[in-house]
Amino acid sequence: MPMSEKVQIHIDDKSYQVEAGQNLLQACLSLKLDLPYFCWHPAMGSVGACRQCAVTLYKDKDDDRGKLAMACMTPVSDGLRVGLGGKQEQGFREQNIAALMTRHPHDCPVCSEGGECHLQDMTVMTGHHARHYQGQKVTFNNQYLGPLIKHEMNRCITCYRCVRFYHDYAGGSDLCAQASKNHVYFGRQQDGVLESPFAGNLVEVCPTGVFTDKPFNAHFSRKWDLQSAPSVCGHCAVGCNTFISSRYNSLRRVNNRLNPQLNGHFLCDIGRYGFAYANSPKRLNEIKLNGKPADWSSKAVQEALAEGNWIGIGSAQASLEDNFALQQLVGEENFVPGPEPAMWPLMAMHLAIAGQKPMASLAQIEEADAVLILCENLNQSAPRIALSVRQALTNKAKDKAEELQVPRWQDAAVRQLQSDNPVPLIYFGYGEQALQRQACVFCVCDDEEAARQGFALANLLHNRAPQKAGTKVSAQTHQAADILRQAKKPLIVSGWSAGNPGLLAAAANIAEALGDKAMLCLVADKANSVGLGLLAQKDQCGNPEECLASANAGLLVLADHSAKSRRWMSKITEQARQVVHLSALQQEGNSSLQLPIAAEGECSATRVNYQGYAQPLWPAVTPPGQSLPAWQWLVNLAKTWGHTLGQVEDLRQLRARMISVFPALQACWADIDDPIALQTPRVSGRTAMLANQSVHEPKPPIETEAPYRQSMEGQVGKGNSQAYSWWPGWNSNQSQHKFSQERGDLSAALLITPSGQGFWWKWQSAWQKINGYHWHLLPYKGVFGGESLSLEAAPIAELCPAPGLFIRADDAALLGLSEGDLVCCDEDSTLFELRFTDGVPPHSLLYQIPANHGFSLRGCELVVLADEAQRHAYQLARDTQRAGQAKDQQAKLRQLLDQDRLIPVRFIEGMG
C-alpha cells in the first residue's frame, strides 16, 4: 500500500510527522519510541488481545483525563494527542505484565528463549519487577510436536500469535487455541508432528519460550554468545534473508532476517533447518583421492590435477564466486552450467524472459488481486512464495475493509470479509497441496497441456499472441481470461519444477498479453540457478558429451547433490580422464579426487535469486578441516597451472574481476568495505571463555580483506548487513520491527535489467511430450525431501516421507489397488506407497521421491503390487534407515557437545 501521506501526531506533547494509514503502535515503534506489545505483528496486523500497548488518548489540549486505548487498534490521524509515558498508561501496562506473570513460571535460567525473550524485554520495559500474586500457577502438559519444535506450554502468555500465524496466516490446520479462561492451550489435538512447512516460524512468532527451536535446543547457546552473520537461504531460488549463527565454530541455527522485498518476517522450514547438512556425518572434511585421505601437495594429487584439457561443470548449489572462478579457470567454452541438461533450456528461457520483464518480488506478489499458477509446484519449489500468494488472497477483503472505514491491518475484520471478497486463484496443473486446494478455478492437467492452455489463454487475452494450432481451449481457460481481464494487478506464476520451458513461455505470453498491469514470477530450480545461467549465457559450452569424447578431458565439478544430476554425471564420467569434485559432502561413485569445500555459513559468497538479484552472504564460522571455499581451491589450482586466475590473492580481488564482467555487482558488495561485527557486545567475555585453557588473550581469527570481524569490533550492522537483531532494550527478534522502514533499500543488486520490450514466444515442438506409455509419470516433489541439500540435515531427513505414487481413486479402483499399497512401476525397483488424490490428470500418476533418490522413468505400462518379500525388505530397509538416522544424529550431537568443551582453543588462531 502506498503510504506516503503524512499526518502530524502529538506524543507526550511532542509533535511528530508519521505516515498515514498505519496504527499508532507501528507509528511509535518507527519513531523509535518504546511501547511494549505482544499480540500485534507487523505482518499479521492488529487484534487488540494482549492489551499491552495501552496509551492515553486526549481529545484536545485541554483534556487532562484522556481515555485509555490500545495503540495497535488506533489509526493515526492528524492532530491525534497521545500520552505514552504518563502515569495512567504506564501503570496499566505494568499491571498488565503483572497479570500475565501470574501464570508465568519465571524459569528464565532453563528457558531457551532467555536473553532474546520479548516477554523479558517487555517486562523490564514496563518496570514490573516484583510479584504480588500469591496463588498457585496454572500448569499444562507439553506435547511432542516433531523434530523441529519444542513445546513448553507453561510459559504461554496467551497472545494468540502462534495460532494467528499458523492457522490464519500460513493455513495450517493442526495447531489451535483450545479451552478458555486462563487455561487456553495452544497445541495440537494430540501429540504429533506439526504439519505446516512453516511451523518453524512459531519459534520467532511466539514472544516467549513456548515454541522453541528443537535442534538448536539440543546444542544450545544463549543469543549473546552466538556469533551470527547476515546470510541468504541456499535451498531454493527465492533467497530468503537469514541470520546464521554459531558458537565454538559450529553452526547452531538459522532465523529470519527481515527483508521487506522478499521473505519479510518468515522463512520456510527447509530454510530454517536445512543448514544442518553442514553438520552431516557425510561431510567431507579432507582431500580424498580414490576414497583415501590425501595431501594437496602430494604427487598423486598434483598429478591428478595436472594442467590439461578440463571441462568445468558448474553448480546451481554453488555460489557465483565459485562458478565464476571455475569458468575462468577452464575457459568459457569449457564451462557447463550444471549437471542437468534438462535444466539448460529452462535456464536460457528464464534469462531471456527476465531480460524483458521484471520478476515480481514477494512484496509485489502480496499485492496481486488475481493469481494464475501455471503448473508450478510452488508449495515445494518456493514455499515462501506460496505463503506470499496466500497473503495476496486477502487483498480484496482488505480493500473492502477500507471501504467500510476499517483499517486494512485490522486482521479479524479482514478475515471475516475474505469469504465474500475473494481474490481469484487459478491453477493449471496437478497435485493437491495447499494452493491447489484454494484455487477457485483448477484445471487438472499435465505440464504440456498447461503450457498449451497458457498459450491459448494469452491468445484469448490478446489476438496477436501466438496460438498453438489444434489446442482445444478448456472452459477453465475462458474463465481465467475473464478473471485476468478484470484484474488490476494480476500475477502470473510459473517455473521450472515441471521441467517444461513451454510453461515459462506461456506465462510470459500471458503477462505480455495483459500488458503493464501484469506481474510475472518465474521460479527457478535452485538457489543460484539464475547466477549460473548468467555466467553460462556468455558463451555456453556446446555439448559436453562430445567435448569429452573428443578431447580426453578431465572434469572439474562443483558438486550438485540432487539424484537427477548424479544420473547424468555417471554417464559422462565414464568417458572422463579424471573426475575432480569440489564438494562439501562426500561423493559416492566415480569421483577420483574430492576437494572439501566450505558449506552453508562457512564462507562469504553471493547468490542470484529468481529475479536476478545478487545477494551477499557472510560466514558465521570458518570451514572445517581442510575445507576451503571452492573458489579458493580453484585459485590454488590456477597457481599451479600458472593460470591468470592464480593472481587472485583474496576474495576482494576475485570480486573485482567479477565486477568487470557484471558491473551491477558493485552495488551488491558496496557495504562490504566497512567490516561488520559478527559477535554481540556481550561476547566481551571472549577471553574469559578460554581462561580454563589459557590466560593469554587470543586474537580473533581474521580473514584478510574480509568484510567482517569475528569479534564484537566493527560495524554493528546497518541496513541489510545486520549480523543479528538488536536494539537497546530489545534483545529479541522483535527489534527487527524497529528497522522495518529502513530496510526498503537493499544492497542486493539486480544483475538483469529488463528491457521492457514486448515479445511473443512461439510454440516449440520440443515442449511436446512424446510419451507412448499407458501411464505418464509426473514429478511431484514434497516440501520435506524435495530439496537435496536439506535432505542431509537430520531434522529434515526425519520428516522426509517415503516415496509416494499418487493416483486417482477411481483409477485405483479399476486396478484393484487401495490407498497405502506398496507398488512399483513396471519392473523398476523403486517401491512407492500408493496415495489417492483428485489432482491427477487422466492417464497420469504423480510420483514423489526424495531428491537424493534416483528414479528416471517418465512413464510405465503397469502399476505392480509389491509381493510379500518386497514388502518385507521395504519395511526392513525403512526401519534400518530410521534407526541409522537416529543413531547418526545422536552421535553427531555427542561429538558436537564434546567438542564444545575443548573447542575454543582449537579454532582461535595462534592457540592450541
Partner: protein
C-alpha cells in the same frame, strides 16, 4: 393493565399456532408485510423500544446501520440472542417456554424490517424445554406458511434455524455469539466493523435479545402510541422484571418500564422472615450493588445508571443479612473468571487474581494490601481496558461491594475470620 408479553403466556402448555392466531397472533407480522421494511424500522424507532439484553441500546437506532436497498448485500441475518446465562436472570426462558410463537413473530418482524432471509435463535444449551417448544412452533409456522419462501405472496421469504449453544456465558456477547455460530472460538470481535455491516459470515447482521424481539408484535399490531402509553417512565413499553435471593417468592412479572424495585420486592412478598435486605443487584450479576435506600428508584435505564449501577436484564438479586457480601462477591467472580473467554489479559488473568485474593479474604487470610490490590484490579479491568464488556461487568459487583460493604471487608482483614462462617 396491558401485558402484551405475558397475557397469553402459559408455562404449562403454551399456545399452539392456532390458539396464538385466535388471539391476534401474527397480525403484527402480517401488518409488517403490508409495509415497506423501512416503514417497519421507522415505527420501531418511534416506539422508543430499547434493547432488553442489558445495554439498553435503542432497537430502531441499531437497525438503522444495516445497509438497505438494492446495493445492499443480498444475504443478511437476524439473530435472536437467547443465550441467557446472566446469573439471576431467567426472563427469556419464561418467554420462550410460555409463548414461543410470540418470539417467532418478533423474529419475523425484525427479519423483514432489515431484509434478512435467514434468522437464527441462539439458545442457551441447557434450555432443552425451550428448544422443544420453539422447534415445534417453528414447524407449525412453516406448516402455516408463515415461514419459507414468498410468505403469503409478499415476496419475502424467511427461514428460522434454532441453534443450541454449547454453553458459555461469553456466547451471549453478540460478537462472540457470531463467532460461535460460525463454528469458531467464542471470542468477541473488535468493533468497528459493527455486526450490522460485517456480521455473521461477514454479512450484515442484527443481534437482538429475545425479550426485545417479543416486544415487536405488539408495536406492529397496536401502533407506536399504544406502546408508549404502556409506561409513564422515559422508557417505553413493559419489561419482564424478576427477583431472586432470600425473598418470599422469587419470580418474574411483566410490569411497565420504570416501576420501582421496591414494588417488585413487594410482589415477591418481601424478604423471608427474619431476613433483612442489605443490598441488591438490579439486573443480573454484572451490575453494581445498590442499597435498600435505592429501592424506590424507578427501574429504568437512566435512573439506575444515575444511582451508579445498570438496569441490565432487570433480574434483581437480593443480598440479605444472613449472607456474607465477601462470599457473595467471591461466588460471582468465580463465575466470571470461569467464563472469561481468555482473549484479553486483564480479564483472563485479572479475574482469577481477584478470585485468589477474595478466596483468602473470605477465610480471613486477607490483608490490607489485598484490599488495595482488589481496588487496583477493579481499575485494571474497567471499561476500555478490556476487549469486551464481560470483565467490566464482572468488576461491577466487586467495586460496589468494596464501597458499600467496606466494613465487612475490613472486618475479615482485622478479625481474620468471616462472621458468617462458624
Amino acid at each position: 393493565m396491558d401485558k402484551p408479553l405475558s397475557s397469553h403466556l402459559n408455562i404449562e402448555q403454551p399456545q399452539d399456532i392456532g390458539a396464538y392466531q385466535a388471539v391476534g397472533g401474527y397480525q403484527g407480522f402480517l401488518a409488517a408485510l403490508e409495509q415497506a421494511p423501512q416503514k417497519v424500522q421507522q415505527q420501531v424507532k418511534e416506539s422508543g423500544l430499547k434493547g432488553r439484553g442489558g445495554a439498553g441500546f435503542a432497537t430502531g437506532e441499531k437497525w438503522r446501520f444495516v445497509p438497505m436497498g438494492d446495493d445492499a448485500p443480498k444475504q443478511k441475518y437476524l439473530i435472536c440472542n437467547a443465550d441467557e446465562m446472566e446469573p439471576g436472570t431467567f426472563k427469556d426462558r419464561w418467554l420462550m417456554e410460555g409463548a414461543p410463537h410470540l418470539l417467532l413473530e418478533g423474529v419475523m418482524i425484525a427479519a423483514y424490517a432489515i431484509g434478512a432471509s435467514q434468522a437464527f435463535i441462539f439458545l442457551r444449551g441447557e434450555y432443552r424445554l425451550c428448544a422443544r417448544r420453539l422447534q415445534q412452533a417453528i414447524d407449525e409456522a412453516k406448516q402455516a406458511g408463515l415461514l419459507g419462501e414468498n410468505i403469503r405472496g409478499s415476496g419475502f421469504g424467511l427461514n428460522i434455524l434454532l441453534h443450541q449453544s454449547a454453553g458459555r456465558y461469553i456466547c451471549g456477547e453478540e460478537t462472540a455469539l457470531l463467532n460461535a455460530l460460525e463454528g469458531k472460538r467464542a471470542n468477541p470481535r473488535a468493533k468497528p466493523p459493527f455486526p450490522q455491516v460485517v456480521g455473521l459470515f461477514g454479512r450484515p447482521t442484527i443481534v437482538n435479545n429475545c425479550e426485545t424481539l417479543c416486544n415487536l408484535p405488539g408495536i406492529l399490531r397496536h401502533g407506536v402510541q399504544w406502546y408508549q402509553q404502556l409506561s409513564d417512565s422515559p422508557d417505553a413499553g413493559t419489561k419482564i422484571y424478576g427477583i431472586s435471593g432470600r425473598v418470599k417468592k422469587a419470580g418474574l412479572w411483566e410490569l411497565p418500564m420504570g416501576v420501582s424495585a421496591g414494588h417488585i420486592l413487594s410482589l415477591a412478598g418481601g424478604m423471608q422472615d427474619g431476613r433483612k435486605l442489605r443490598g441488591w443487584l438490579p439486573g443480573g450479576a454484572s451490575t453494581d450493588f445498590l442499597l435498600p435506600e435505592h429501592l424506590e428508584l424507578p427501574m429504568g435505564f437512566d435512573a439506575i445508571a444515575k444511582a451508579g449501577s445498570r438496569l441490565g436484564t432487570g433480574g434483581i438479586i437480593a443480598l440479605d443479612d444472613g449472607h456474607c457480601p465477601v462470599g457473595m462477591v467471591l461466588n460471582l467472580l468465580q463465575f466470571f473468571a470461569q467464563e472469561s473467554c481468555g482473549w484479553c489479559t486483564p480479564c483472563r488473568d485479572g479475574l482469577p487474581w481477584a478470585v485468589e485474593i477474595l478466596s483468602r479474604m473470605e477465610v480471613g487470610k486477607g490483608t490490607q494490601e489485598d484490599l488495595d490490590e482488589l481496588s487496583r484490579l477493579c481499575d485494571f479491568m474497567w471499561i476500555g481496558k478490556t476487549f469486551c464488556a464481560l470483565a467490566p461487568g464482572a468488576v461491577e459487583p466487586l467495586r460496589s461491594a468494596l464501597k458499600y460493604f467496606a466494613d465487612d471487608f475490613a472486618e475479615h482483614v482485622d478479625k481474620g475470620r468471616c462472621r458468617y462462617r462458624h
